[in-house]
């Protein structure tokens, strides 16, 4: 306990590695390297890009823009449509809802704590929040917006014109700065006071007995800690854990359309387009066959509010998730990844007892604090740029 407490001090991060390896940490210690541990979230600081510093005005603007549907194709959906605060800042179905007339093909990830991550999206396709926001707002099955019409809309909202001028010095709002403001706002959406954080910082009463036992399973027999470690409970590596394709692709015409579109949009060979029957994940970025169906290890934080789980939302409960791992990366019907050759060797049957599973699930709940519900901001209105008198004065 005392060691964990020390590790919560950011200044001792380097020392942590030494302490960790010396202390051994029982069954998860790996010979010759530091044993991974969980750490409180406030042991790390939010990375702020040097060219997009946080300011109150920028954050306030970003909050409005996050909720403003005019930053989308038909002005009916905003960032918050798929990242709904009341659905865990995500979307409570397997696939995200998508642009009207479409459905997405991946599970919407929570915004909470997301800006600590080194990269964004399930396969890390965007290097920052500033890059993630436009990709989502413009993607055909997400926001389906285009730069020119979205920028034109901002120019006709006087409150935004003033705010962009004050925050960025824009004469007229530039769409690129909208993404900067949104990323700044998202950097404020963090949760550092979960039961786990409090426990790791020395409050032994923050976890129940069951949760403490669950933590031992997490770090021991379950092996969860080997990937879900550190302050974010993820090592941010890309791993194929054996998640099976979503059966919705076999049953839903709309989902089949998006599936094929994504093969195009993400860059596929003709052969791949014809024969892919699952999401190839990291492959779309690297084009390495050994990267097929690898996805970034997600954070376990805030998961109490973000069901369903996995990149394609195939599991609706934490029980299903734990059973999946216990079975060595297989669902209850024995389905697994279409690329078993890429499946991580660490994913093996665990032989957890029912009590161990129950304790583990209880512990997973400790990664979430209170649900973060906010009052949605009021949105400024359009106003005509010119008066009729000004238009009549024009000499043509």
């Amino acid at each position: 306990m005392s060691i964990l407490k020390q590790q919560s001090l950011p200044s001792l991060l380097a020392a942590t590695l030494v302490v960790g390896s010396v202390a051994g940490f029982g069954s998860v210690a790996i010979a010759g390297s530091a044993a991974p541990v969980l750490e409180p979230l406030d042991s790390i600081s939010m990375p702020i890009p040097p060219d997009n510093k946080q300011t109150d005005a920028k954050i306030a603007l970003g909050k409005q823009l996050f909720f403003d549907p005019r930053l989308g194709g038909d002005a009916s959906i905003s960032c918050s449509s798929c990242h709904d605060p009341e659905q865990g800042w995500a979307w409570a179905e397997d696939f995200s809802r998508g642009y009207p007339g479409t459905v997405h093909w991946r599970n919407s990830q929570t915004i909470i704590n997301s800006q600590y991550m080194g990269r964004q999206f399930w396969a890390g396709a965007a290097a920052s929040g500033e890059k993630q926001a436009p990709s989502a707002a413009k993607g055909g099955v997400a926001g389906n917006g285009e730069n020119d019409i979205m920028e034109a809309r901002l120019a006709l909202i006087p409150e935004y014109v003033t705010a962009f001028n004050e925050v960025f010095g824009d004469e007229w709002p530039l769409i690129g700065n909208a993404w900067r403001a949104i990323a700044s706002y998202e950097r404020t959406l963090v949760q550092t006071d979960t039961p786990l954080d409090n426990f790791l910082k020395g409050d032994a009463s923050a976890l129940s007995e069951e949760q403490v036992r669950g933590k031992a399973v997490f770090e021991g027999k379950g092996g969860c800690i080997s990937c879900h470690n550190g302050a974010l409970a993820t090592n941010e590596e890309y791993v194929n854990i054996g998640v099976p394709p979503n059966v919705r692709w076999q049953e839903d015409g709309l989902a089949q359309i998006t599936f094929r579109f994504e093969q195009y949009a993400k860059g596929q060979t003709e052969e791949g387009y014809r024969h892919a029957k699952s999401d190839w994940g990291l492959y779309y970025r690297t084009k390495n066959k050994w990267d097929r169906s690898k996805f970034r290890v997600p954070s376990l934080r805030y998961t109490m509010y973000t069901a369903p789980y996995m990149h394609n939302g195939v599991f609706y409960t934490l029980e299903e998730v734990v059973d999946f791992y216990d079975a060595g990366g297989m669902d209850s019907e024995g389905r697994t990844t279409l690329f078993p050759e890429n499946k991580d060797a660490r994913i093996q049957p665990l032989g957890l007892s029912d009590d161990e599973k129950a304790d583990l699930i209880t512990f997973l709940e400790a990664f979430s604090g209170e649900e973060m519900i906010i009052d949605k901001p009021s949105l400024p209105e359009y106003k005509a740029l010119f008066t009729e008198a000004e238009l009549k004065e024009v000499k043509k």
Binding site: P100, F261, A384, F386
Partner: protein, 372 residues
């Protein structure tokens, strides 16, 4: 389809002789309806039928809420019946959508003439432009591939597997079927007033721009049509205008209070082509009110009055625009002549897709074992 076109043309040939006789009797030099005949178009019936289904299909737009026919309404001569086109949901528009009857006979398209290649390109622009249909064509292709009826029709049309490229071929093929039919001018059944109006039309100089089979010289002119202030006073329309002028590279677009028109084509440094618009065809006008690029004139009477006054005010106005000093009789006859250039409404099932579209995309069975 091909057969019917051939029949219509042979009827036109018969009318040619009659027209020539009329021209001689009018003692007008260089004017005969021989110039007026629209050339025969070869139409592939299966491709046109496919294009027809696509034209009326809302799934061809981004959020599946509008089809080509939303702005190009058959009952309004395939144009919009309001001054300004509705545009894509979430924004308005800044121009009146042009009637599509005879569009396949044109060489240049859109009020500013910015597309002069072919209807394949025009189709692409309309489908993909964000303030019009805002469609990612990769999604469109996959939607089409999800509809068994389309798979059948693309095959029958000889296109094989549905693709966005063949969507852009099929819609233009359908547009060829939208050709004037039964206009008194073509059938030789013009009223006496219309005949008198034709004389006015030629004597008053209308024909200097409204020439040829389509009654257009295919060039851009400034006639001083007043701006439609709704473009700028309604932020829904103005945002489409801003997005358009920004994309076209028009300088200082945020301060712009007028439609640049064909200026977007070559942006003359002296701005002398600012506010020029392509001479529109005069065929099918009775179906396509309101008039002008921004719908500012409600009736043909208003149009004739506008020209009688020498057009509107603009420093770039074409010098041919002079007050015409027409009598009321001449104006009425001119309107009658313009009306004689309009034929039947093309609103029957031959031109309009009437079958319902599936409410949901059918699932591809045994998906796991089917090639995508």
């Amino acid at each position: 389809m091909v057969k019917k076109v051939a029949k219509r043309v042979s009827r036109q040939k018969r009318l040619l002789a009659a027209s020539l006789a009329l021209a001689v009797s009018c003692t007008l030099v260089g004017v005969s309806h021989a110039d007026g005949a629209l050339p025969e178009l070869e139409i592939n019936a299966a491709k046109a039928e496919l294009g027809k289904r696509l034209f009326f299909d809302k799934r061809i737009s981004g959020d599946a809420a509008i089809s080509c026919a939303t702005c190009h309404m058959p009952e309004n001569g395939y144009s919009t019946n309001e001054a300004l086109s509705p545009g894509y949901p979430g924004n308005g528009h800044f121009r009146n959508s042009i009637g599509l009857i005879n569009t396949a006979h044109k060489k240049t398209w859109l009020h500013d003439g910015r597309l002069g290649t072919n209807l394949n390109d025009v189709t692409r622009e309309m489908i993909t432009e964000d303030y019009i249909m805002n469609m990612d064509m990769r999604i469109m292709q996959e939607r089409v591939k999800q509809d068994p009826k389309y798979i059948e029709m693309f095959e029958a049309a000889g296109y094989g597997e549905p693709s966005n490229g063949s969507v852009r071929k099929a819609i233009p093929e359908y547009l060829k079927t939208l050709t004037s039919r039964g206009a008194p001018y073509d059938t030789g059944s013009m009223s006496d007033s219309a005949k008198a109006g034709e004389v006015v039309f030629n004597e008053k100089g209308c024909a200097s721009c409204h020439s040829g089979a389509l009654f257009t010289d295919g060039k851009a002119h400034n006639t001083g049509v007043p701006e439609n202030f709704d473009v700028f006073l309604d932020p829904m329309n103005h945002q489409a205008f801003i997005a358009f002028t920004m994309f076209q590279g028009v300088e200082n677009y945020m301060a712009l209070k007028r439609d640049p028109g064909a200026y977007v084509q070559w942006k003359k440094a002296d701005g002398s082509n600012m506010g020029t618009f392509m001479t529109p065809s005069l065929r099918e006008l009775t179906q396509t009110a309101p008039y002008m690029h921004n719908g500012m004139l409600a009736s043909l009477g208003d149009v004739v009055e506008f020209y009688n006054n020498g057009g509107g005010e603009d420093s770039n106005k074409d010098s041919a625009m002079q007050s015409l000093e027409m009598t009321n009789q001449e104006k009425a006859d001119l309107v009658a002549f313009l009306e004689s250039l309009s034929g039947e409404a093309l609103t029957g099932p031959e031109h309009v897709w009437t079958e319902a579209y599936p409410e949901e995309y059918p699932v591809i069975e045994d998906w796991v074992n089917q090639a995508n």
